[in-house]
């Protein structure tokens, strides 16, 4: 029988997986040292905020976010809603609200993509500070007032607000996403802040000076245009500040198929951006972050080797391979869940502790999304439907 040693494949793949696991753990643990910076400065003139909202078939939710901004305690604002390739009544519903600060425009393009609507809105904006929101978001009345406290300091160029979950009680899928954001996503941003790194951009709740957006040529029509913008910002040396005290509520996909579609787009988008920017210099932690979707590859390699083991054996080929540090991966996994436990308890969220086994199961959807990612072609086919709330 012929013997074939495939350790040359399995060892680098598992070391890569471990590197990513420990980098995530390190950033999460760094969040324990995070302290919010006080960015108070003096304002000469109160700035005009341009709130830009791209909308594609959002008739169920569009009025909520418009009303939230019309009721802000800081009144110096304009709202630009771009109804992009809508097939429902989004345009009519948004136009039914009358306020001189509200502009509703329609955009028809052969291509799909959020970036097209965002750039169109940017052209129609006249404010100094651009607030990028999604149509399904909700914000409190003092949202802009809090944002202003950051932008009163001239050093602040871009801000990412905290992302909360609007429909956490809808079902266990939305609950798990709330836990994912609260116990992993937000501490991840805090950890980056504690390490002096720029906060990554979350696709919504992003506030940025218009001048900066124009300097970097705004959004490009990528599957994840937010991450592409983030890459351009850090290459320009612009740091995105995380604002944990300013919250924007976001609606999460409530069904497995919608969730996998959304996450597959993220993974495919990530891979496209890695390919697009592979020769450009980035800080080490950003390279690790960019490569993070490949974290799932070793498990597929492991599954593939398991599947081909017996057929090859019957053909007289005996394959051997070694996955060296599985125990270390288990260590990082346990440490990460201990961190989640600490975070939930320290915030008085005892109920979230009960959901942790469920969250563990939920986290394996990434393995499915990774495979599905290879079938994603355009932004339009992965659009998440909205309007699924209990309230």
């Amino acid at each position: 029988m012929t013997a074939m040693d495939l350790s040359f494949l399995t060892i680098p793949a598992t070391i890569f997986m471990l590197l990513i696991s420990f980098a995530w753990l390190f950033v999460l643990l760094s969040s324990l040292a995070y302290r919010k910076r006080e960015e108070e400065g003096k304002l000469v003139d109160p700035p005009l905020f341009s709130i830009i909202i791209p909308a594609h078939n959002e008739e169920k939710v569009i009025n909520e976010i418009i009303n939230d901004f019309l009721q802000q305690t800081y009144p110096n604002l304009e709202i630009i809603v771009v109804c992009h390739n809508c097939e429902d009544r989004t345009f009519e519903v948004a136009r039914s609200l009358t306020d001189k600060r509200l502009k509703v425009v329609e955009l028809r393009t052969p291509q799909s993509g959020k970036a097209l609507a965002l750039n169109y809105a940017l052209q129609h904006s006249s404010g100094d500070i651009i607030v990028q929101m999604d149509a399904d978001n909700r914000v409190g009345k003092d949202f802009l007032k809090k944002v202003l406290s950051y932008f009163s300091h001239p050093r602040v160029q871009a801000l990412q607000v905290r992302l909360g979950t609007k429909n956490a009680d809808f079902n266990l899928l939305t609950k798990c996403q709330q836990i994912e954001y609260d116990l992993f996503g937000m501490p991840f941003w805090e950890g980056r802040g504690a390490l002096g790194l720029s906060c990554t951009i979350g696709g919504t709740g992003v506030i940025i000076r218009k001048r900066i957006l124009e300097e970097v040529n705004a959004w490009e029509n990528e599957l994840i245009e937010d991450f592409d913008l983030y890459c351009k910002l850090i290459q320009k040396g612009i740091k995105v500040i995380y604002a944990p005290d300013v919250e924007c509520l976001d609606e999460k996909p409530p069904y497995w198929s919608a969730l996998i579609r959304q996450r597959a787009r993220w993974i495919r988008g990530h891979l496209r951006i890695i390919n697009k920017r592979k020769w450009q210099p980035f800080p080490l932690f950003d390279i690790i972050y960019m490569l993070s979707p490949l974290f799932y590859f070793p498990w597929y390699l492991c599954a593939f080797l398991t599947v081909i083991y017996f057929p090859l054996k019957s053909l007289g080929i005996n394959i051997t391979y070694w996955f060296p540090p599985v125990h270390l991966w288990l260590f990082s996994l346990v440490a990460m869940y201990l961190f989640f436990l600490y975070r939930a308890i320290s915030q008085g969220r005892w109920k979230d502790v009960l959901y942790l086994p469920l969250f563990f199961l939920f986290s394996f959807h990434w393995l499915i999304a990774f495979l599905r990612g290879f079938t994603i072609k355009s932004w339009g086919e992965t659009k998440t439907p909205h309007g699924y709330t209990t309230g």
Binding site: P254, S257, W299, F364, H365
Partner: protein, 94 residues
């Protein structure tokens, strides 16, 4: 002899560990899912059915959920196997 008698009495223990562990893990995570759904129902005070609470609207959703559970079982089996928790098969009943 004693072991063989026990295997005859409790058929589950006579299963091959490569079948027993995945079966046990599958049942465990199905229980976790149902307990989670009950918790969400209680917390959200909703009148939605179980399928809805589990995030299932179409057969595709159910299929994805099963795939997620299978992925989890696969990864856990790799861990169990590599950590040496997989005992040799028990003797078959006479």
């Amino acid at each position: 002899m004693e072991k063989t008698k026990r295997s005859q009495k409790y058929r589950l223990f006579s299963l091959n560990p490569m079948v027993f562990y995945p079966f046990f893990l599958f049942l465990f995570f199905v229980c976790v899912l149902f307990a989670g759904a009950l918790l969400v129902k209680r917390e959200g005070k909703t009148s939605f059915g179980f399928a809805h609470l589990l995030g299932i609207r179409t057969l595709k959703d159910l299929f994805i959920l099963l795939l997620v559970i299978l992925s989890l079982i696969f990864v856990l089996m790799v861990l169990i196997y590599s950590l040496g928790f997989l005992p040799p098969s028990p003797p078959l009943p006479a």
